[in-house]
Symmetry: C2
Subunit: 202 residues, 2 copies
């Protein structure tokens, strides 16, 4: 039987909501609630305001799916980005990862997940139609498919490639191989085999 | 160099605040922010309201230190609790743990931490004076010291015992031994030694 941790409705409600945050479970939610109450002015009230603020003002971009206060987002409207390149990614976190790396200056397209027969996710559940629309843009030269290197991610990449065949646009994917700083001994067989087969002259 | 994860002030601010919650780091804060945005109405807005509500209405009880919307708290004012017993604990989470166990029906006293020479925590930083005041209550028969079984917790327990010596009240502490469901093979030497020395007849 689940017992109310604090016998206090306000606190119990907060703890149950905190426990639904990805990364926090019931026990860490209790710890988080106590930690927040100890820092009411430095953390708890600012966090309440920031949550309400983001819920109100941050929306997905109608073109690429990026989260921003503007719509279209600052990447889609930027004059400094290379508009001949679109990088297709699963989620906003992948966009953040690529932006942190800082080496990509093109546009993005977030499809919002992967095809998955097990989870019942079909092409109509992902934003693939929007990508196909963007593919007819005459300025566009290349679409880089950067879905994750998982089975579902690769399936999705193949499906998208098929959809993009009618268009006059290069479709490429990220290179697979040994991660920078990676030790061979710790790599799985699949990565090692791919790295060997894709070897390049010095 | 720390790079802004989203190039978006509102979101970055939220992520930096989420990262300060005990149990969440920078990476899990980004994941939490995305998870929250995906559930704006089911989770994000209710969480913002719950945080503001608890920050406004939940306060430490002036007698025992428990967190409640009432002051004194519902345990201190309850007529169903045994007012001859006070259990001394370090933190509110310990009170919740004892209430979940459901076998204790006395009152509580939260001292708010442990004495610690390393962290510079002295008796004046803990709510020990409040406990000494409560010890003179003629209804009180026993004080159970339930600080954690750590070095600092035990030091604090000894200090409190000293302070309570002038009063006509029994001072006891929780039993140490083998946890229920525990296997001897996995227990540390200290616990095993204590369990052996404190053995009891069947």
């Amino acid at each position: 039987m689940y017992k109310s941790p604090s016998n206090n409705n306000e606190l119990d409600h907060l703890i149950s909501l905190l426990g639904k945050i990805p990364g926090l479970g019931p026990r860490s939610a209790r710890r988080a609630a106590l930690g927040l109450i100890k820092k009411k002015d430095a953390l708890m009230r600012p966090l309440a305001n920031a949550l309400a603020d983001v819920a109100e003002n941050v929306h997905p971009c109608a073109i690429c799916g990026n989260l921003d206060v503007e719509n279209p987002c600052h990447i889609c409207t930027s004059t400094k980005r290379d508009r001949s390149l679109i990088c297709v990614i699963e989620d906003v976190s992948d966009l953040w990862a690529l932006e942190r790396a800082g080496s990509y200056r093109g546009l993005y397209h977030i499809i919002g997940g992967t095809l998955s027969a097990l989870d019942g996710v079909g092409p109509e559940d992902l934003n693939i139609s929007g990508l196909v629309e963007r593919a007819s843009d005459p300025d566009l030269k290349e679409i880089i498919i950067a879905t994750n290197a998982t089975v579902d991610g690769q399936t999705t990449a193949h499906y998208i490639t098929e959809q993009l065949k009618p268009f006059d646009v290069t479709v490429s994917r990220l290179a697979h191989g040994v991660p920078i700083g990676g030790e061979l001994d710790y790599l799985d067989d699949g990565t090692l085999t791919t790295a060997l087969n894709s070897r390049r002259p010095f």
